[in-house]
Amino acid sequence: MAETLAAQSAGETDSRVLDLAHPHLSQRIDNDNPAAFDYVRLSVAQVNNPKRVGLIFDVVFVADGGSRVQLGGFSLYPPDNPGSFIVSTRHLINSPGLVVVSLHTATPVDPGTPLSVTMGPITLAQSL
């Protein structure tokens, strides 16, 4: 938990790849009127998961002022299947900040287990 909080406060990450050693990705949200958007859209572009470990992602918004909001999460099904997902903002993204995606495994795995997920862009979206 402490590690997750630290990651969430550390600022935008450069790499788009999540793995066991680097399970958090942060991306800045700088929209002019973020409160108007209904969803965070997250895209999982590529998955390397030969042992088919169950993968769960949780999504948090950390405002520049430091407040954090748990938005929700999603999972891959099957666990090596990329895809595009939406999580409701509940209109709680009201200011600039970071969206932080964290990778979890369904069961404990050895640190050496081959596993990586490449994330595509994270964007805010509205429904028509």
Binding site: R52, D58, S75, P78, I86, A106, A125
Partner: protein, 491 residues
């Protein structure tokens, strides 16, 4: 035989509902599914009123424990069927997918996740009823929001319901995907498309991923785990709760509703299919739910007959979204075909329309064949299978063929003097999606951009046609593309 009773005003509405929906022609309904459900006209109303109840496992009631005992017997029976019986456990599971091959016919990550699985579950439930002789059996569902632990009968290692799984409770899920905090905003979303996407990606996928992990339940072969059916019972109940109990509307866009979901197997081991529109009415005709809470949304008392009719009307109308046709390739004008002989319709060679259709971006557009007909045929004991670029297609060509696109069927027959368009509710047209078949053929490099043909093959439901010379008068057959209507606007 029961003496015929006078039909009350309320019951008339229900009968009328059935006739309007199934003669609508906008979508196709498997007559086997309907007749098996309804048992013929004289039992129609009684069957609807006493349709099976799918109960909440977590209630611990005597009734749901009884249903679980029947489910155990049904699973044993299906596992005991010979490989040659299409209803055997492995064959039914393989419709969804296998551990080795992944997903096969199931719909995921698109707008047909809900309706495809609804039809899959209903046919499975029918098989359970048939094999156990328990015609009022309803598939019990696992409400993982109220009861995060995998229900005890599925954890008994001596039981046929047991398979190895990565976890036995959702309470350890780090994302909280099945908690009220996650589900409340999802159920508060009134948009059908985004509700579906979130319900699938968050609790549905996470239950598979966290409980199943790398085991059977977590992968393409998940339907082989008896827990799959209790999990998808909850997914279906979630859709029902959102739509019926909470008053949200599905789309009424024919581009969604007229898509035919197929590759099911019915209680007699025969191929079955139904339209997406038809699936929205299944909880009114074929089964009902014992209500339970999800997040902040409480359980509801069963609706009165009058309330049910009001809700059914609303569900049937859906939300008003226009169908936009971006391309149309005309294949044929008025023509009469006999069901005993397959028909092949070819687009004019060298036509620009062929290149546009074959070049459609299937992520952004649907491709359909649109078959308009003048009137209902005199018999309706058959389905019509649609193939792409397979001139030799015949009634023995399996639906597993890569060229197979889908099928449609007629329900009811024409009354002399009545034309198909007589009712203001009746649109004498079928739409069958070609998108999945086109994608398969493109990936297999089996398409040439100068050739496009559609084959229509009538196949009797039971061995042979009642009348092989039955004619269908088609007024137009076109291939159309429509944009995928609902998009999110990205920042």
């Amino acid at each position: 035989m029961k003496e015929a009773q006078p039909i009350t005003k309320d019951l008339n509405a229900l009968t009328d509902l059935n006739r309007r929906i199934f003669l609508r022609g906008v979508g196709a309904v498997s007559t086997c599914l309907v007749l098996a459900t309804l048992g013929g006209c004289e039992h129609l109303l009684e069957e609807i009123e006493h349709r099976p109840t799918r109960r909440w496992i977590g209630s611990g009631s005597h009734a749901v424990n009884h249903d679980l005992a029947i489910y155990i017997e049904a699973v044993k029976a299906m596992k005991g069927l010979s490989p040659g019986d299409a209803r055997n456990w492995n064959s039914i599971a393989a419709i969804h997918g296998t551990a080795l091959a992944g997903f096969i016919w199931c719909q995921h990550g698109n707008d047909h996740f809900f309706d495809w699985h609804r039809g899959y579950l209903l046919n499975f439930e029918r098989i359970c009823q048939k094999l156990t002789g328990e015609k009022h059996f309803g598939l019990p569902y696992w409400n993982w929001n109220q009861n995060p632990d995998v229900p005890a009968p599925f954890l008994d290692t001596a039981s046929t319901l047991f398979t190895a799984r990565s976890n036995t409770s959702m309470s350890g899920d780090p994302s909280g995907a099945t908690t009220g905090a996650a589900l409340d905003p999802i159920f508060g979303d009134s948009n059908f498309y985004t509700f579906s996407s979130q319900l699938e990606g968050t609790p549905h996928n996470t239950v598979h991923g966290y409980i199943g992990g790398g085991d059977l339940f977590g992968g393409g072969g998940s339907a082989s785990d008896p827990l799959f059916w209790a999990h998808h019972g909850m997914v279906d109940y979630a859709w029902y709760k959102w739509n019926v109990e909470l008053g949200n509307d599905n789309t009424n866009d024919p581009a969604w509703g007229d898509v035919i979901n197929s590759h099911y197997i019915d209680a007699d081991g025969n191929a079955a299919s139904n339209s997406a529109f038809a699936s929205t009415l299944m909880p009114f005709l074929s089964y009902q739910y014992e209500s339970s809470p999800i997040g902040s949304f409480a359980a509801k008392a069963p609706p009165s007959k009058k309330e049910l009719q009001i809700v059914e009307t609303r569900v049937r109308k859906g939300a008003d979204i226009r169908l936009v046709i971006s391309n149309r390739l005309h294949l044929v004008d008025r023509t009469i075909v006999r069901i005993g002989k397959p028909v092949s319709l070819r687009a004019p060679q060298g036509s620009e329309g062929i290149a546009r259709i074959l070049g459609a971006d299937l992520k952004r557009e649907h491709v359909f064949v649109s078959v308009q007909y003048a009137r209902l045929p005199p018999t309706s004991d058959f389905a019509v299978r649609v193939f792409i670029n397979l001139p030799d297609a015949n009634r023995n060509t399996p639906m597993s063929d890569a060229h197979y696109a889908g099928s449609f069927a007629f329900f009811g027959t024409s009354i002399q003097g009545e034309s198909a368009g007589a009712s203001t509710h009746h649109q004498p047209k079928f739409l069958v999606s070609l998108s999945a078949a086109l994608q398969r053929l493109q990936q297999g490099q089996a398409l040439r951009d100068t050739e496009l043909s559609i084959q229509l093959v009538a196949v009797p439901f039971k061995g042979s046609f009642e009348r092989e010379d039955t004619e269908i008068e088609m007024t137009a057959v076109d291939i159309i593309t429509t944009p995928i209507i609902v998009r999110t606007v990205q920042s």
